[in-house]
């Protein structure tokens, strides 16, 4: 309490402001409520956006870490050669390089059969994980079956399948891949690379450890292979994730924009409250001016009132917003602690700043009006 008293003695405008606000508690309370709703709207809509983005990123998984290099058909290049693959390997410093051949073939087991994509890969372990069985380090014999095809043909590891008449023992059934992938294994069969016709490769998949590394690899591959002619086209999934991120940025701005409207409404209500209370206190303000209080001090006093309303509303609104964020993240992401991240902190600071700013801005006109009234007029009964 003594700290507060000390503050009031130092900043008399605050003392007067606090006393004036306590004069009509319901009115002050309602003005604060407006700011609380505004701050809560901005902060929680911002956090809602963050939660959406986090959820979407989780769904997308690591696709931003992969790039696909394919021959540039427009220049008449139909496949990638061993030399190209070597150059790609040299360009990629950080990540696995998996050359892929693909064809559509008839796959059968017993009396069940289907036409599906067959990928020839040397090192499928760099891209996929097994659900049942084991993926060998280098695929020299045997086949890996995607989960969809496995379900269709009722295949387990150890079974044999026939691909275009050739018989393979199934080493593993691959785990179903969620989200988007460059070479989706779900409805495919993977066999040793030599078993697929052709000398070159239809595409080379590079799997890096991070989106950043994938991007650097893409740049390096373009430099190495496309120096003289546009031999390859490099497709980065990061461009998709960047697009998605951008979309969520726009969505967030849109949500915050909606939230801001409520804060503007709150600002108008503060303007109204302050205007009413300064009109009611005309005579008092006239007395203040008569006994030697300067215009600037009157302005400071009324701005302090508006500022106090804003700070009170902002603080309560921020606390409620954190509560709402924790509830939302617990519900959507099953991770209430996801609320406490830098982006959300920014939204809260932004919302409180907006709240206080709106309040003070709304106090400006009433303050100016009160300070510029001639004391003679104000004191007239």
């Amino acid at each position: 309490m003594s700290v507060l008293d000390d503050l009031f003695r130092r900043v008399p405008a605050l003392l007067m402001a606090r006393r004036n606000l306590s004069r009509n508690r319901i009115r002050s309370g309602l003005a604060v409520l407006g700011i609380i709703i505004g701050v809560l709207a901005i902060a929680s809509l911002g956090m809602f956006g963050t939660t959406l983005r986090t959820g979407a990123t989780q769904q997308l998984g690591d696709i931003g870490n992969e790039i696909s290099v394919s021959p540039n058909f427009q220049e008449g290049i139909e496949e990638l050669t061993e030399r190209d693959v070597d150059e790609i390997r040299r360009a990629v410093t950080d990540g696995a390089v998996v050359p892929v051949r693909s064809e559509s073939k008839l796959v059968s087991r017993g009396d069940r059969q289907t036409v599906t994509t067959v990928y020839g890969m040397e090192d499928p372990g760099a891209l996929y994980e097994a659900e049942e069985g084991r993926i060998p380090d280098r695929l020299r014999q045997g086949a890996l079956v995607g989960s969809g095809t496995a379900g269709l043909l009722d295949v387990e590891p150890g079974n044999t399948i026939s691909v275009d008449g050739r018989t393979y023992r199934v080493s593993a059934v691959l785990a179903e891949q969620q989200g988007i992938s460059l070479v989706s294994p779900n409805n495919a069969v993977i066999v040793p690379v030599e078993d697929v016709n052709g000398t070159g490769y239809s595409q080379v998949v590079v799997s890096a450890d991070s989106g950043q590394a994938a991007n650097e690899s893409a740049v390096a591959i373009r430099e190495a292979l496309n120096e003289r002619e546009e031999r390859v086209s490099v497709f980065e999934l990061q461009s998709i994730t960047a697009g998605i991120n951008e979309f969520f940025g726009i969505l967030n701005a849109f949500l915050i924009g909606i939230g801001s409207i409520s804060l503007v409404v709150a600002g108008v209500s503060i303007l109204n409250v302050m205007l009413m209370s300064t009109i009611e206190r005309r005579q008092e303000i006239g007395v203040l001016r008569a006994v030697g209080v300067q215009r600037g001090d009157v302005i400071r006093m009324i701005l302090a009132e508006a500022g106090l309303l804003g700070v009170a509303g902002g603080v309560i609104g921020a606390i409620l917003a954190v509560g709402a964020g924790v509830a939302l993240n617990a519900f959507v992401l099953n991770d209430p602690l996801a609320t406490f991240q830098a982006a959300n902190l920014l939204y809260i600071v932004l919302a409180v700043g907006f709240g206080v700013g709106t309040s003070v801005l709304s106090g400006l006109y009433p303050a100016w009006k009160a300070a510029n009234e001639r004391p003679v007029e104000a004191l007239r009964k």
């Binding site: 004036n20 005579q283 007395v287 203040l288 006994v291 030697g292 209080v293």
Partner: protein
């Protein structure tokens, strides 16, 4: 000259939508330190306008105002406010205390916006002097009319003014309470050498005054 305040040939005209009202007509007036002057006259005679001009709340249309020998007619709002704070104490008919502040805080109020470490002590002593030493922490609505006017007088004295301007100081008080307030004025002007100028209808103030000036239709009679 030793007049603390002086009006020379002061005119005040108001333009009220095409019609010009002359509230003060060629008024010459002065008051000396320690003097108790009453200004009497019917309502609408320009008494309040004169008090406002004396209190640097309003500027005359024509003529000159001297405060402690200095021409203060054409000061800026800021300078007028500074001079009001330094030279003039106001007392109003309806007291005009701030309802949210205690008696002590009301007395301190004119010093509140400014660094004045001794203000609290001065305010306490002034309230003791006007007989309210026991009621420092009372809010105005816990005080009687006479007590409120005493708080207002203490407030007017906090900056040790040279002039007290009172607008119907006994107007809202019963006769006995009015007398005790006037006794207080009498004491202040004697002990503090303050000029007291009171605008009033109340004939009993005349008993206390050194001099009575009558104002009718904006002219001093």
């Amino acid at each position: 000259m030793n007049h603390i305040i002086e009006l020379q040939r002061v005119w005040k005209r108001y333009d009220t939508g095409g019609e010009v009202v002359e509230a003060l007509k060629d008024v010459d007036f002065h008051a000396d330190p320690g003097e108790f002057v009453t200004v009497m006259g019917p309502s609408g005679s320009g008494k309040s306008t004169m008090l406002n001009v004396l209190g640097l709340l309003d500027t005359p249309t024509e003529g000159t105002v001297y405060l402690d020998g200095q021409d203060v007619t054409d000061l800026s709002d800021r300078e007028m406010t500074v001079h009001r704070k330094r030279f003039i104490g106001f007392i109003f008919q309806s007291f005009h205390l701030i309802p949210t502040l205690s008696a002590l805080e009301n007395v301190e109020m004119p010093t509140l916006f400014g660094d004045d470490p001794t203000a609290r002590d001065r305010a306490t002593r002034l309230l003791e002097r006007v007989g309210l030493g026991e009621r420092l922490d009372h809010r105005p609505d816990q005080l009687s009319g006479g007590q409120k006017q005493r708080v207002a007088i203490a407030r007017a004295l906090i900056n040790e003014p040279r002039i007290l301007l009172a607008d119907e100081p006994t107007g809202n008080l019963d006769r006995a309470t009015g007398r005790s307030v006037l006794d207080l004025f009498d004491e202040i002007r004697r002990e503090d050498d303050v000029a007291v100028i009171a605008v009033t209808h109340d004939p009993q103030i005349g008993d206390y005054a050194d001099r009575t000036v009558e104002l009718i239709d904006g002219r001093i009679q």
